[in-house]
Structure formats: structure tokens, C-alpha cells
């Protein structure tokens, strides 16, 4: 299994980019997706941002196949969301498919409405924009760069370390999940061949229980390793690496801001259209 969100060591312009530029890109992404844009006329707003994100990924030279797990998860989620919205959307009248009549409040949930499909698609587009943008920071920024960036942003030392530790624990959880699943398969517990209902009913206890117990143990060892290396010393540690802003950082910052401004301009112009 490919472990998502793991730092990929490369020497590309995106990897060399100052982490503060990438953090700003993430914040602007959040602004884009949290603005309610549910009508189809706004589709270009997240699309512009999505196109820029895809270009950034291409520049980072990270293989699409690393996202297999994420793609599978998103595909399932999107199909579910679009269908649910298609059936349950309250303000839709254009019936695309009619299965049966079952009224729930003002809605006939036995039909799929065009307006619901559009609403669901717009929702998925926003989720996709977030899903494409957010991993760029952690997959192209080493944890020492992240620590420096958080320190520059005056994040508390403990909070910074919690974020970095959580990232390293994500990898650990995926690795342990694999080990535990293998160990249980060796006892004739073949989770891969169970149907989804059986999986939900009985598959996860034999996997989640050892995982949680092992994570407690690892967290304990991790605490020992940290504290015996003076992590609890009051005050800020000595700064070992400082990363100045380069011309590349300024150029990329300007480009990101221009794309953001374009997206906002589109939002306003499209909002004025009937």
C-alpha cells in the first residue's frame, strides 16, 4: 500500500520553495473552498485553482500512483455524494431518473434531480480542490522546514512538535495496519475477501485493537525518546537552520496571488451574471 501524505524527497522548485509560500497557498485554498459557490456558473472559480494546483504537482514531479488510496477513497465518496444529493436535493424539479415515489418532507427521494446532481458535483469539486492542494505542503516540505516555518509564525514549540509527530505517526499507522492485517490473515482471517457488511460487523476489532494498543506503546516510547533529549526544557531551542526568502519564492508568491485574484475576480463577475 502506498502511504499517502508522506514527504517525498526531491530537488524540484516546489521542494525548494519556502514553506511559508506553501502555507499561504494552503490558506488561500481554504478561502476558495469555504466560499459557498454552489451554482454551476461558479464552476470556473475552483477550476482555476485546481488547474494551478495540478501544475504545482507536475512541477513537484510526484507520481500520480502515490495517490492510489486517496483516489479510490475520493471516487467512492464522490459517487455517494452526487447520488445522495441527486435524490435528496430539496429545490430541484428537473427529474433525470425516476425509480419510485417516496416523499420525505418536500422531496421525492425516489427520483434523481438535475439540480441535485449539479449541487453534488459542485460540492465534490470543492472537496477535490482541497484534496489536491493540501497534501502539497506535507509531501514537498521536509519536517525541519516545517518546524522552521511554524517557529517563524510564532507557533508554540509543543504545538509544532505535535503536528510534526502526527505526520510521522500517520506513516507508522499505515505500516502497522499492514503488519496487523497480514498477521490476522495468517490466522485465516481474510479481510480482503469479506463483503463490506461482514467487514463492518467483524473485521475491524482484530485489527484496530492491536493497532491501538501498539500505538499507545509507541507513543510511550516516543515520549521517552523526546524527554530524555531535553524536549521539556523551558523556552525556545537554538535555531540550527534558517531559510531566507529567495527570488524564486517571491516569483511563486506573486503567481499564486495573481491566480487567487483571478479566481476572486471570476467569482464577483460570475456573481453579477443572472
Amino acid at each position: 500500500m502506498q502511504i499517502p501524505f508522506r514527504y517525498v524527497d526531491r530537488n524540484t522548485i516546489i521542494h525548494r520553495l519556502h514553506p511559508l509560500v506553501k502555507i499561504l497557498y494552503i490558506l488561500l485554498t481554504l478561502l476558495i473552498i469555504l466560499t459557498p459557490l454552489m451554482e454551476v456558473k461558479y464552476v470556473f472559480v475552483p477550476l482555476v485553482w485546481l488547474v494551478m494546483s495540478v501544475i504545482l504537482w507536475a512541477l513537484a514531479q510526484i507520481e500520480v500512483s502515490r495517490f492510489q488510496t486517496l483516489i479510490k477513497l475520493l471516487t467512492g465518496t464522490f459517487i455517494f455524494l452526487i447520488l445522495v444529493q441527486g435524490c435528496t436535493y430539496r429545490w430541484g424539479n428537473t427529474v433525470v431518473l425516476h425509480f419510485f415515489d417516496l416523499r420525505y418532507g418536500e422531496t421525492n427521494v425516489g427520483t434523481i434531480k438535475l439540480e441535485g446532481l449539479i449541487f453534488g458535483t459542485m460540492l465534490c469539486l470543492r472537496i477535490l480542490t482541497a484534496a489536491v492542494s493540501l497534501p502539497l505542503l506535507v509531501m514537498t516540505t521536509s519536517s525541519s522546514d516545517l518546524v522552521n516555518a511554524f517557529r517563524w509564525l510564532r507557533f508554540p514549540k509543543v504545538a509544532t512538535f505535535m503536528i510534526i509527530s502526527a505526520l510521522s505517526f500517520t506513516t507508522l499507522i499505515f505500516e502497522m495496519w499492514e503488519y496487523i492485517t497480514s498477521a490476522q490473515k495468517l490466522r485465516a482471517f481474510d479481510i480482503d475477501r469479506m463483503n463490506p457488511i461482514t467487514k463492518l460487523r467483524r473485521a475491524y476489532v482484530p485489527i484496530v485493537t492491536p493497532l491501538v494498543l501498539l500505538l499507545f506503546r509507541k507513543a510511550n516510547d516516543f515520549q521517552i525518546a523526546l524527554e530524555t533529549r531535553a524536549f521539556g526544557t523551558p523556552g525556545d531551542p537554538t535555531v540550527m537552520e534558517d531559510r531566507p526568502f529567495t527570488a524564486l519564492d517571491w516569483v511563486m508568491l506573486a503567481l499564486i496571488l495573481i491566480v487567487f485574484a483571478t479566481a476572486q475576480y471570476l467569482r464577483i463577475r460570475l456573481g453579477a451574471m443572472k
Binding site: P210, Q223, I224, E227, T228, R229, F231, M240
Partner: protein, 584 residues
Amino acid sequence: MNPLEIDLEHVTFTYEDGVEALTDLNLRVRPGEFIVVLGANGAGKSTLCFLLGGIVPHIYGGRRVGKLSVAGHDPWDEPLYVVAQYCGVLLQDPEVQLFNPSVFTEMAFGPANLKIERSEIIRRIEASIALLHLEGLEKRNPRDLSGGQKQRVALGAVLTMQPRVLVLDEPTSQLDPVGRAEVVEAIHRLKSTGEITIIMTTHETDDILDLADQVVVLDEGKIVLSGTPAQVFSQPEVLRAAGVKVPDALDILIQVNALGDQPVQVTDEQIERMDGRYVGNYTTELIRKGHLEVTRSPETPCNGSANQNPAMLEAVNVTYQYPGYPPVVALQEINLAIRAGELVGIVGQNGSGKSTLVKCFVGLLRPTRGEVRVGGKNISGTPVGRMARQVGLVLQNPDYQLFTVSSRDEILFGLHNIGIEGEEAEQKVNSALDWVGLQDEIETFPFRMSFGDRRKLAVAATVALDPQVLILDEPTTAQDHRGRYQLAEIGRRFRDEGGRTIVMITHDMDLIARYAERLIVMWNGRIILDKPTDEAFAQREVLARTFLRPPVAADVAACLRDLGVSENIITPEGLLSVLRKGKS
């Protein structure tokens, strides 16, 4: 002022759950001394390390009685970041100690927390890197390094804090032979500086003979033996009773002395020179002086027999490639047949393909090319769940599988998965627990059991499925001497009494020599040696290429070759069987 660097007076420590881990401990260590603490799993070694490093009571709570002083401080009274400045701790598992993105930042982490000046931190890092031979790795991610390199980085990260006392808690127990040798060499260099007091716990007694100034043996929290290595290792019976392995070379020397009516007591000088060659030359001398005689040398191999049974496990042109960036070829064109009833050992360094190969045999991994057959049938379409009834694989860490509230439920889980219920299942539970000697633990919560017993329970859970083949993956990792042999013994009984096929993956050459009839040596995804064990150990050049060493008994036998002793001898018992008391 206390001239002792470590001073324990009548120290008793009890954990919060009431378990008394250390009882009335007295230990006095002078500055610059190297102390080795030995003992079986659960003897109290790690608790002692935690006590010295302040981990108890700051992380694990408990109650202490008695006086404790480390570098003139009582770690009990000070926060851990203060204790860390005079007492550094290196843990068993390098993985949990490395959390920074580069070797450089990993080593800078401790002193940076202590607000040491940047230039001074860099000076300390450079000194540690030179001492530990880590040059060129400064920018590498520690997680991408080999086991030995990781543990040396973790050691460097402690050394840059310049503690006066260094506590090493089984620093080599999770490493392969190459990694172990690298770390032991680094510890030798560290000791030779004479600037630091070191206390180290270990099961690997062979590594510490020429390191230790004092040896302390713990058993159930009490010191049962202490003194110089010569004093301690001259009492093999006490060591064995405490579950401590007598170093192989020393064990043979003591037995040879006893056989030739020589004083059993070994000297410090002998301890410093102790290895197979020394024991071989010493035995030669005893034979020349007439204290010993060579009785016979077996013409047939001591170990191994021709097996004509049909093949149980077969790999035909098997290649396996792990996906990744870049992909890693773990097995290359493997052709192998393991016959029913064989007890086969597989050795090789980490990454040589041993675990990948056995995972192919149980269907956890499907070969990229080639074919795997079990009992003559291609298993490419057989699900892992069904394979579990034919081939049982016990993984290194039992904690990846245990999840129920009792040993009974743990075994029943697998039985229910293959459709065995009711009375039949209960019988199989009892029988499996009998096999591993845990019949009295049927209702015990597995996580309350010792690591060794948890491993035995994992074996029982596999044995209960009644597989034709039992594979033990690294049964020796993090196990004490006693636990290693118990698991190997279970494997052998399963073969002898149950007529099954056993495959053991291990780094312990002595264990292989005693139990395996056939030895497979892997290197870089290929099988480079596959012979009866005694013949394989005679292939010294091939073994050397893979950084493996034959057991000490084989080294001694090689020295005695000119006196008529067969080179095929690989166990102490085999060696002693061709010697007898001389006439003088």
C-alpha cells in the same frame, strides 16, 4: 563529594501496579567504567536503565526505597530535561528514537533544546559523526538508513548532549549481524575515549567480553552475581540458572578444561583474547601436553540426513519486486524445494529476501514472476486465509496479532476462522497450549504475559490450525537466551512428533547449528548457499561474503583439523564428543 559516578544503596523499586522490579540493589560504579548488566527478559534490566535515566518516576510511576546517585544527582528529584544533561539513554528500538528529517537535525535536537550555542552544537555533531563513522550521512533521512546506522545515529543524538553517564538498553537486540557489529565497534571506540561512564544491558554476551570492566547479573530484580568478566563467566551454572547465555567460546573453553582436569576458572587475560581461534589453539595445546586426546572424528556429518520425501514448499524461478520509487527487487530467480519433514534454517542479512521468500510461501505476497507450490500445487489463486491451514507463519512481533482477553480466545479466533467450533475447538486449544507449555495460562490476558510467553502464544495460535509447515520468522529477536531455545525446541518437537516441516529464519548461528539440518544462505535476493548445515558452515568464504560467521564450535574444530578433528563439527556437544581426557 561522592567519588562514584553511579551509586545505588539498597534500592528497591515497585511499579504502580505492585510489581517489584528491583529488590535491594547495590551497585557502585567509578567514573569511566563500563558496566554490563545481564539477565533474562523480565529480570529488571530495563527498569534499572529507566531508574538511572529518570524515566521512572517521570514517565513510569512507582515507589522507590533506598539511595540513588547518578553523576552526583538523584534523578528522582529533577525534571527529565535536567537528568538528560548528565545521563543519556539509548533505547532498544532505533525507530522510535529518530523523529527528525536528517541525521544532522537529529543530532542537534538534544543540545538545541538545551539552548547550547549553534557553533558548539555543530562542533559536537562533527565529533560524534567522526567517532561513530557516520561521515557523509549528515543530510540523509535517518529512517532511510540501515539498522546499524540508525542505532549509531540515535547514539550520536545522545552523545551530542555530552552526558557524564550513558545508559544503553539492549542497543543491539533488534539488529542483524552487520548492524550489531557496527554498533559494538562504535561502543568500543566510545569506551576507548575514557570520558564517559557506560552501563549497558544485553543478551549478547559474546559481544561484551572485552568491553566490560564489571558484569552484573540480575535475576528477578536481584543481583545474583557481579564482578569482573572472568569472575562472572567462570560460574556458568549460576548464569544458566539466571537465563544468561554463557559466551560460546568461553563455554567450550570451560568444558574443555573440565574434560582435561584443568582449572575451570578463566582469567582476565583469557577473557580479553576469547574467540574460536583462541579456544582452538588452547585445546591444541592441551592435546599436545597430553591432557586431552582426540577419540574419533565422525566420517559422516554430525548433523543432517538425506531426506527423500516429496517437496512440501517449492519456488520455481520466483522473482518478487516491491512497488515503490524506485521499485525494489527483493527476490531474483529463486529455485528451491523444501521437503516434507525437513528442519531448514534460512540466514542472511536484513534485506536479503528471507522474509519476502516465506511471505510468498504463505501467499501474503504473490511473485512478480515464477511460481510457488505448496504440497505440489500452485498457490497463485489460493487466498491467504486458506493457505493458513497448510503453512503457518509466526511473525517476529506477537503484538501484531494478539487482541482478545484470554489465551483461549486468542487460539479460538483462528479455529473459528477455519470453521472449527465447539468441543473440537476446545480440544485443539488445550493441545496447542500444551505444545508451547502455556497450559496454565489459558485464561490469562495475553498483554499481561511476558514477551517470551506472548511469542509462544502466537506459536500456539498457529499450531492449533494444524499446518503442514511451520515457519518461525526471527524467533530470536529481542528474546533472551532461554526464550530463543524454547521456541526452537517447540519447532523441533512439532517436526519430530507431528511429522511437520519447519523453516526457521534467524541470525543466531548457534541456534541454526543445533537445530537445522539444512542451511540456506540468502544475499541480495538470491540463494547463494543451500547445503546440509555442517557442510554449509564449512564454506567460510561464501559466509564471509555475506558478513556471516560460522558458530564458534566450527572455528575451534577448524583449528583442530590437523589433529584429526572433522571440520564438519558445528556444535559444542559435537566437539566434546570427539575429545576425551588424556593420559597425563
